[in-house]
Structures are given as structure tokens and as C-alpha cells.
């Protein structure tokens, strides 16, 4: 399921990490644009953003907030979103 529709290459973690838009990735092999299914992707992104907001709010103001909280939270979110795509929970839109 989580493959590029043009070259059939697997979606890599770097394609997710590199994209500024979580609903539109770029295949790391052929550079073709990959659209994420708007409903499943939108729900996943909304949930992830809500969780990020809760964690940041909970830890706001601690010493080294950006280094010890913000960076790890963003990295974990990227990994989580990648896994959701990889497991097929977030689907790739068929063009």
C-alpha cells in the first residue's frame, strides 16, 4: 500500500521527514509527488498535532524546553506518522 504509484518504490522515512506538507510527499526514488489520502491523513495529522500540543503545553517552561521536549516530540511524531503510512493506516491517494 505504501508505495509510490509511479515507480513502485517504498515510501521512506526521509520522504516523510523532508516534506513540509504532511499530506503531500515526494518519492525519494523518482521524485514524483505522492498524495496522502485526505481523510485518513487529515485525521492522523490532526491527532498528532493535538498530541504535540498537549505534550508541549504540559512541559512548557522547563529548563532546556526546546532541546529536551520540542525536538524529541517532533522526531517521535515524524516516526509515528511514517509508521502509520507504512502500516497502511494512513493511505496513499490513488491519482
Amino acid at each position: 500500500m505504501s508505495k509510490c504509484s509511479k515507480c513502485d518504490a517504498d515510501i521512506t522515512f526521509m520522504s516523510v521527514l523532508n516534506s513540509p506538507n504532511p499530506l503531500r510527499l515526494k518519492c525519494s526514488n523518482c521524485k514524483e509527488s505522492i498524495k496522502i489520502h485526505s481523510v485518513t491523513g487529515g485525521i492522523a495529522v490532526a491527532i498528532i498535532f493535538a498530541l504535540i500540543g498537549i505534550v508541549l503545553y504540559a512541559f512548557y517552561g522547563i529548563e532546556g524546553f526546546w532541546l529536551k521536549v520540542v525536538l524529541p516530540v517532533i522526531l517521535v511524531s515524524e516516526v509515528g506518522y511514517f509508521l502509520l503510512i507504512k502500516l497502511g493506516v494512513v493511505k496513499i491517494s490513488s491519482n
Binding site: N18, S19, P20, E63, G64, F65, W66, L67, L71
Partner: protein, 131 residues
């Protein structure tokens, strides 16, 4: 989305790493008794502001040259600051390297540079091949 990212990141970095220090040094020039050090600082930050505004014009015209100039100024800021910290440390003062300072002066500029040069945001620029 690449355009939105560039239009957000570049002015934010300009404000945090150049415009704000320039405003602070201008205020210290205005308020302090001894004007020599704040005057040098204001001239340096003023030059950095002018160079970065020129770099931003190039960036918004989708030229990567602007990006090189912009990040050179940011790197110079971080380099001068780190040199200052190290010189103070070797002169027997306390080492001012808290985690927030490491993030502000080293990690954040590196992350932004990675984002602009390595991530998909690079396709915003004209001479980067895009689909």
C-alpha cells in the same frame, strides 16, 4: 507549501538572529553612558541587517545565492558568539553553554539550514530541479 515554509522560516530567522540583536544594540547605544562598544555592535548588526535584507530579496526571487548569503550571516553570528564564549571561558569565566543556548546558537540554525538546503523546501528555488 514550500513557498509558505520559505516565507515563514526566512523572516523568522531574520527577526531572531539579526533584527532583534540590532534593535537591542541600538537601544543599548541610546541608553548606555559609554557608547564605544554599543556603537561597534550597532554598526555590525546594522550591516548584517542590510546584507540579510538583500539576501531575502534574492531568496524571494527564488535565487539560491540569497540563501548562501543569508546563512553565511547566521553562521557568522553563531561563530562569533561561540568564539566569545570560548575566549571568556579560557580567561577563567564560567562556560555559558546551557542546553537552551546550544539549541539557539547551534542546533536551530543547523536544522533550519538542513530544512532549506536538504528537504523538499529546496524545490522552491529555480535552479533546483523539481517535478
Amino acid at each position: 507549501m514550500n513557498k509558505v515554509a520559505v516565507m515563514t522560516i526566512v523572516p523568522l530567522c531574520f527577526w531572531l538572529y539579526t533584527a532583534w540583536p540590532f534593535i537591542l544594540s541600538a537601544f543599548s547605544l541610546w541608553l548606555s553612558e559609554d557608547k564605544s562598544a554599543p556603537a561597534i555592535s550597532t554598526i555590525l548588526w546594522g550591516s548584517a541587517v542590510i546584507v540579510q535584507i538583500y539576501a531575502m530579496v534574492l531568496i524571494f526571487s527564488r535565487k539560491t545565492k540569497g540563501l548562501h548569503i543569508f546563512f553565511s550571516v547566521m553562521a557568522l553570528h553563531a561563530f562569533l558568539w561561540l568564539s566569545d564564549v570560548l575566549v571568556s571561558y579560557f580567561e577563567g569565566e564560567e562556560l555559558l553553554l546551557s542546553s537552551s543556548v546550544v539549541f539557539d546558537k547551534i542546533l536551530f540554525p543547523l536544522l533550519v539550514a538542513w530544512g532549506m538546503y536538504m528537504s523538499d523546501i529546496k524545490y522552491f528555488f529555480n535552479n533546483v530541479e523539481s517535478k
